[in-house]
C-alpha cells in the first residue's frame, strides 16, 4: 500500500519537543539566564538588536537563548515580534554629538578636540586564548572616564567649518522617515531608505561588500574620520507638549567615513561622507556600512557604476539575512510537482536525443 510522506500535527509537535530538549542541553548543567546572556554575550545581543531593528537587550537575549545562539534565527524572532508592535511616534534625530562616550577614535587626525579615547576594544588584545576563563576568575574594576565629561564634537564638523567636506543635508522627506518595515523598497531608493536597509543588513554581507570597495571594486579612498561608541538620549516631541522630552538612552556605534571626491558640474572637489550606525557596540558593522553607503552614492556623485557594492538593486535586494535565509532554505520544502514536471521533460528530451543519435 502506498503511503505518502506525511507531516501532520504529530510530526511537528515531536520536532518541537526535540528542539526544546536540545536547546536546553544536559539538565544537570545550570540553565543560562537571560540576564547572563544580556550581560556576558553583549556583542551578540547588540548584533541581534541592530539587525532585528529593535532596541531591547532583554528581548534580544531571550531570542538568542530561544535560538540556541543562532544569530539569524534570533533576529528572525525579534523581527516577527516587532511586526506586532504599534508605532507610537517617531523620535527626533539622535544627537550623537552629545554622546556619553565609551570610546572614540579618529584615523584622520593625530590629536583633536576631545582627544582619542581608546575605551573597550578587542583591537589590541593580541588574541591569545585566555585559559583563565575556563575556570572563571574575578575581574578587577577598570578605570573609566568621569561621568560628567564634556560632550566631544564630531571630527567631521571640524572639516565642515573649512568647507572641505560636503554639507550634511537632510534626506528628502525628513523628519518623517521612510519605514522599510511598512513601505516596500522602491528603486532608485532615497539615501534614508538605503541607510535603513544597510543598518538592518546582514553583517557578513555588508562586511564583504565594504571590503570589496577597498580592493578595487569601486573607486573608494576611505579614511575613518571617526568611530564612536557610547550612550545617547532618545527624545520625542509629544503632540500635546510641543517640546522634546527624553524617553531614555540607548547605546550606539557611529562611523563617519571620509572619502575623496573629484568634484562635479555643480561642486568643487571636496571630501564626501559615508555613514554607518549600529545599536550597541558594533564597530565592524558600522564601518562596513559606511563604506557601502558611500559606494551606493555613486549615481548622486556622477561616478561610474561598475562594482557590486555600487549596484543599488543588487546590494539592497540581497542584504537582508531573513529574506536570504528564508529563500535559500525554502528549498527544503516539497517541490514534488515542479520536479515531476522537470522529470517528465528531461525524459522526453533524452528520448529525442537518443532517437537523433541512432543511425538511420
Amino acid at each position: 500500500m502506498y503511503v505518502a510522506v506525511k507531516g501532520g500535527e504529530r510530526a511537528i509537535e515531536n520536532s518541537q519537543a526535540l528542539l526544546a530538549e536540545l536547546r536546553r542541553g544536559d539538565p544537570s548543567v545550570a540553565e543560562l539566564s537571560i540576564e547572563q546572556i544580556r550581560l556576558q554575550l553583549r556583542l551578540a545581543v547588540d548584533r541581534i538588536m541592530t539587525e532585528g531593528s529593535l532596541y531591547d537587550p532583554e528581548l534580544a537575549a531571550l531570542a538568542l537563548k530561544q535560538a540556541s545562539g543562532d544569530a539569524i534565527e534570533a533576529i528572525f524572532l525579534l523581527r516577527a515580534y516587532r511586526t506586532t508592535l504599534p508605532r507610537l511616534g517617531y523620535s527626533v534625530p539622535l544627537d550623537t554629538g552629545k554622546m556619553r562616550l565609551w570610546r572614540r577614535v579618529s584615523a584622520t587626525f593625530k590629536d583633536l578636540p576631545g582627544g582619542q579615547i581608546l575605551g573597550p576594544t578587542y583591537d589590541y588584545t593580541q588574541r591569545l586564548l585566555d585559559f583563565a576563563l575556563l575556570a572563571g576568575t574575578p575581574v578587577p574594576p577598570a578605570p573609566r572616564l568621569p561621568a560628567d565629561a564634556e560632550p566631544v564634537p564630531a571630527v567631521l564638523d571640524l572639516l565642515d567649518q573649512e568647507g572641505l567636506i560636503e554639507a550634511e543635508s537632510a534626506s528628502c522627506g525628513d523628519p518623517e522617515p521612510h519605514d522599510l518595515t511598512r513601505e516596500p523598497m522602491r528603486f532608485p531608493a532615497s539615501r534614508a531608505a538605503r541607510l535603513q536597509n544597510l543598518a538592518r543588513a546582514d553583517e557578513g554581507f555588508i562586511l564583504a561588500l565594504g571590503y570589496s570597495t577597498q580592493r578595487g571594486y569601486a573607486h573608494s579612498h576611505p579614511f575613518a574620520g571617526e568611530v564612536r561608541f557610547g550612550s545617547v538620549e532618545v527624545e520625542l516631541v509629544p503632540e500635546e507638549l510641543g517640546f522634546a522630552v527624553s524617553i531614555g538612552e540607548l547605546e550606539v556605534t557611529e562611523c563617519q567615513m571620509i572619502n575623496q571626491f573629484a568634484g562635479s558640474k555643480s561642486q568643487p572637489p571636496q571630501f564626501t561622507r559615508g555613514y554607518g550606525l549600529a545599536f550597541g557596540h558594533s564597530e565592524r558593522k558600522a564601518m562596513a556600512m559606511s563604506l557601502v553607503d558611500r559606494a551606493l552614492r555613486a549615481p548622486e556623485l556622477g561616478e561610474a557604476i561598475d562594482s557590486p557594492a555600487q549596484m543599488e538593486e543588487f546590494v539592497l535586494s540581497h542584504s537582508d539575512s531573513l529574506e536570504a535565509s528564508g529563500f535559500v532554505q525554502h528549498l527544503k520544502l516539497p517541490h514534488y510537482v515542479d520536479f515531476q514536471s522537470e522529470l517528465e521533460l528531461v525524459r522526453r528530451l533524452r528520448i529525442n536525443a537518443v532517437q537523433q543519435d541512432e543511425p538511420t
Binding site: 568634484g263 562635479s264 558640474k265
Partner: protein
C-alpha cells in the same frame, strides 16, 4: 541620397553637454537627410561618442535639441517624447550598432533569436515565419545560415558585427547609428564588413550616423563628414572634398595621419 526630400530626417540644434566642468559638446548643429551617410571623425575625447549617444536618445543634452522626422508628425524633439515612444522608436525606426558586440547582442542567446527579437517585440508570434526571417537576414549579412542556432559568444569579431547589423536592420529602420563598427577587427575582415555596410545602406536607402576615428572608413562610406575637436565641430563638408582639401588646421593634421586614433 534622396535629395528631393523636403524635411531632414534628423536635426541637431545647438547641442551642449558637460561632464563636470569638462565640455564634451558645444554648439553642435547639423541636419541629416534621408538616405544620407554622415561620418563624425575626431580623436578620442573629441566628443564624437558623446554626440552619438545624445543623437540616439541615450544621453540627454544639457542644452539644445535633437529632432527626428516621425511618420505623420514631422520633426519632433526626441527628448520631449515619452519614454515609451522613444524606446519604440529605438527598436523600430532606428538601429544602433555598437563598437563592442557584447553591448549590442545577447551573447548567450542563439543568432536566430538575436536577429528576430525586434520582430517578436513587435508582436510576431509565428515561429516558422520568424525562423525564415532569421535565415534570410543571416544570408543578407553573409553569415552561414547553418550557424542560426549558435550563440554569438562562439562567433569571431567580424561575425558578431554582422549579426549585430542583421539584428538592427530586421525592422528596416530609416536611421542607423554606427559606433566604430570596424575597430578592433583584422584589416581584411574590416574591408569585407565595410563592403557589406556599403551594399546594405545603398540597397535599403539607410540614413547613417557613423562615428569613426578612421578616415578611410569615412571615405569609403560617408557622403558627408564632420570633424570634431574638443567638443566642437571644426569643419564639415562632402567627404571627398573635405579629405582632399582640408581647410581647418586640425583636419589637416588628421588627414596627414600624424594623430594616433
Amino acid at each position: 541620397m534622396a535629395a528631393d526630400s523636403a524635411t531632414p530626417l534628423l536635426c541637431a540644434r545647438a547641442l551642449r553637454r558637460l561632464y563636470g566642468r569638462i565640455v564634451a559638446l558645444e554648439e553642435v548643429s547639423f541636419e541629416l537627410w534621408p538616405g544620407e551617410i554622415l561620418a563624425i571623425v575626431g580623436e578620442s575625447g573629441s566628443g564624437k561618442s558623446t554626440l552619438l549617444h545624445v543623437l540616439a536618445g541615450q544621453l540627454e543634452p544639457d542644452e539644445g535639441e535633437v529632432l527626428f522626422d516621425l511618420p505623420g508628425r514631422g520633426l519632433q524633439d526626441i527628448y520631449r517624447l515619452c519614454e515609451g515612444e522613444r524606446r519604440t522608436l529605438a527598436r523600430t525606426d532606428w538601429g544602433f550598432v555598437h563598437q563592442h558586440a557584447v553591448d549590442g547582442l545577447r551573447m548567450h542567446v542563439s543568432a536566430g533569436a538575436n536577429v528576430v527579437e525586434r520582430q517578436m517585440a513587435l508582436g510576431e508570434r509565428h515561429y516558422g515565419r520568424l525562423r525564415r526571417l532569421a535565415l534570410d537576414w543571416l544570408q543578407h549579412v553573409e553569415l552561414d545560415p547553418a550557424r542560426i542556432d549558435d550563440a554569438p559568444v562562439i562567433f569571431s569579431g567580424g561575425m558578431r558585427q554582422r549579426l549585430q547589423i542583421a539584428r538592427n536592420l530586421v525592422t528596416l529602420p530609416r536611421l542607423v547609428f554606427l559606433d566604430e563598427p570596424t575597430s578592433g577587427l583584422d584589416v581584411s575582415v574590416q574591408a569585407r564588413l565595410l563592403d557589406l555596410l556599403r551594399r546594405l545602406t545603398r540597397e535599403l536607402g539607410l540614413a547613417v550616423v557613423l562615428v569613426t576615428h578612421d578616415l578611410a572608413v569615412a571615405r569609403l562610406l560617408a557622403h558627408r563628414t564632420m570633424v570634431m575637436q574638443l567638443g566642437r565641430v571644426v569643419e564639415s563638408g562632402l567627404t571627398d572634398q573635405l579629405l582632399d582639401d582640408p581647410v581647418h588646421p586640425y583636419t589637416q593634421l588628421l588627414v596627414s595621419s600624424v594623430l594616433p586614433p
